[in-house]
């Protein structure tokens, strides 16, 4: 069973290299990509079952046992997030295949996309701090190129701030790792967790806050989120969709992993996390209200949703952390679906600006249904997955007596509904104030998008519905994962270092 873990990192990298070698044969690249991503999805689902039954699965690369060698760890938390991420990655890949008007940049899209997937997978599976930095760099360097692929003027402009902010965060990450290595003499996370206990509390707090800031920049929490709404909307829509679903969530994953494993129950960081959660929710949703473009509204909502996931961690109870994990599982497909809808609309009309669109409910019913499902789920309407995520978080918040942040989360939910209504009223109802850019989109006739694009979007919206229906078993898994996270000595550390 354990051979699946390294295979899921190696296969996409090998497939990416092969895709570069046959860069003109786009069709073969597509088949290869679907096969590798499909295999990865199956592997990650198998990991969930194995990790739920036998506890964290550990692979020592090259036979060098921890703490000497590099360790890969798949516990229930990482395999749950890995599965939903890979399902989303596969759906977006199918969407990208369905896209018309291929230009030259299509040759390079597939290998980069596979490298991005390998980086995301490695970040979820690694059990080594320095290896986590390398995995982040693989993921980010693929993302830099994907974001600026095409080299248009606005892409170069937004690419600059995106690359600089991420390089700064990476520098901070290596600095923190160097300091942790100087203090503990190890980069294996389980080993570091044991050795950090011997340090003075002040130094431990310093490392905790430094790691929180580093991953906070990647996760776009308040007040470190300004780069996100600036850079995401200018990328090609498939790229934005997969970034929106995955990249910030890898940051949140790293925050939860490091805070629970390395700094368990630390008072200072828990207080900082809870404050950041509330401020992130408010700042994101208020930013969204001022926007007019669909992609920009959605980008600000990514920020506000990150707050909910941190809220669960900030409570630091089994219920809270489990609700946070459930919220992440719900959020990844929902957010991606919303961006895919904006991509469908752009493919058909040439714009996603509310002022140039109107009345699409009659002209593009498939997009309307997908948006309705995902938008209501994001705002938290029953019986969709977002409702359960918010309900569980609010329950956990009341149980811990965190009244202020819980109240904030409810208010932000209302404002999210307002934003979704604004997009709905602007694009699917009413009339356009300006003409859309494409000649073919003018008038009142039906708009058509390629079947595969529609199918991928609807399929991903179906995942949201399925998470809502299967809320009970998924919640059980999340609770199990949260119990493991909050007692790392019994689960994670014991599995990596042995008894």
């Amino acid at each position: 069973m354990n051979f699946v873990i390294p295979a899921m990192i190696v296969l996409p990298v090998v497939a990416a290299g092969f895709s570069i070698a046959i860069w003109r044969r786009v069709r073969i690249q597509q088949v290869l990509g679907v096969a590798v991503l499909g295999g990865s999805v199956a592997g990650s689902l198998a990991l969930i079952f194995a990790a739920a039954q036998a506890g964290p699965l550990v692979v020592h690369i090259g036979g060098w046992r921890a703490p000497v060698g590099i360790t890969l760890v798949a516990d229930l938390f990482s395999s749950l997030l890995l599965s939903i991420s890979l399902i989303t990655v596969l759906a977006v890949f199918l969407f990208a295949i369905g896209q018309p008007r291929y230009d030259k940049s299509a040759y390079y899209f597939h290998p980069l996309y596979l490298l991005l997937t390998a980086g995301v997978t490695a970040s979820f599976l690694t059990g080594d701090l320095f290896n986590l930095y390398v995995a982040f760099e693989v993921m980010l360097s693929a993302s830099y190129v994907l974001l600026t692929l095409g080299g248009r003027r606005d892409q170069v402009r937004s690419g600059m701030s995106y690359v600089i902010i991420n390089l700064a965060a990476s520098t901070l990450l290596v600095t923190t790792i160097a300091l942790i290595y100087a203090a503990t003499g190890s980069v294996n996370m389980a080993h570091v967790a044991v050795r950090l206990q011997d340090l003075a509390p002040g130094i431990r707090d310093l490392f905790g806050v430094m790691l929180f800031i580093t991953f906070g920049i990647k996760a776009a929490i308040f007040p470190l989120f300004f780069w996100l709404p600036d850079s995401y909307p200018t990328a090609p829509v498939t790229v934005t969709a997969v970034f929106a679903g995955l990249l910030t969530k890898v940051g949140v994953y790293s925050i939860i992993r490091t805070q629970t494993l390395l700094f368990p129950g630390d008072q200072v960081t828990t207080a900082v996390v809870l404050f950041a959660a509330g401020a992130t929710m408010i700042a994101g949703v208020l930013g969204a209200i001022a926007q007019d473009d669909m992609k920009r509204i959605l980008s600000f909502h990514i920020v506000s949703q990150i707050g909910y996931m941190l809220f669960g961690l900030g409570l630091y109870t089994v219920g809270g952390v489990a609700a946070g994990i459930f919220y992440m599982i719900h959020h990844i497909p929902v957010k991606t679906t919303l961006f895919l809808v904006s991509g469908l609309i752009e493919t058909m009309t040439g714009t996603a600006a509310l002022r140039s669109l109107g009345g699409l409910i009659r002209r593009a019913p498939v997009s309307a249904i997908a948006f309705l499902v995902a938008g209501l789920s994001l705002a938290g309407t029953p019986p969709l997955s977002g409702f359960f995520g918010k309900l569980l978080l609010v329950q956990a918040g009341f149980a811990s007596g965190a009244w202020t942040v819980t109240a904030v989360s409810l208010g932000v939910g209302l404002l999210t509904l307002f934003s979704m209504t604004k997009i709905w009223a602007g694009i699917f109802w009413g009339e356009a104030q300006e003409e859309p850019p494409f000649e073919s989109a003018r008038g009142t006739g039906p708009l058509r998008a390629p079947g595969l694009m529609n199918a991928a979007t609807i399929g991903l919206a179906g995942v949201t519905v399925a998470i809502g229906i299967l809320a009970q078993p998924i919640w059980r898994l999340c609770e199990h994962a949260a119990r493991e996270l909050l007692d790392p000595r019994a689960a994670y550390i014991a599995a990596v270092l042995g008894q």
Binding site: V134, V156, S158, M160, V163, I164, L167, A178, A182, V187
Partner: protein, 131 residues
């Protein structure tokens, strides 16, 4: 010896930060380079005293040789930063072919929303003073 290295790390971080805060991308790239030197030196300091051999046969006390792992980490970090610097410079060149310079521009949508706030002083009474 270690103290002087630590001071150098601090100076490099300071100078790098000064350059990164500029708007022109070539200066930012140079600043990033300085940051990387700072981090690599920091890793060397984390590996023990300078001048000690990195690998020795068994039976030698731990304090007599330098830890080789940070050097492997530095090598990885150098490779990554090399690629990133090349990409930054390519981006700067692309920006130069578009606009004639490599300065980071304002976001057009941000400007539009700032203009909206300025046009409606009745709804946003403090807007003028804040700006």
């Amino acid at each position: 010896m270690i103290l002087s290295l630590v001071v150098v790390v601090g100076v490099l971080f300071g100078a790098g930060t000064y350059l990164v805060l500029h708007r022109t991308l070539t200066r930012v790239a140079l600043g990033m380079g300085l940051w990387t030197y700072a981090v690599n030196l920091l890793l060397i300091v984390a590996g023990g005293h300078a001048g000690l051999p990195p690998l020795v046969n068994g039976g030698v006390p731990i304090s007599a040789y330098a830890d080789p792992l940070p050097q492997a980490m530095i090598l990885t970090a150098i490779v990554i930063t090399f690629a990133m610097t090349a990409f930054l410079l390519a981006l700067a060149y692309r920006s130069w072919t578009h606009t004639g310079n490599d300065e980071a521009e304002d976001d057009i949508e941000d400007r539009r929303i700032a203009a909206m706030a300025r046009e409606r002083p009745a709804e946003v009474p403090q807007a003028e003073e804040e700006l």
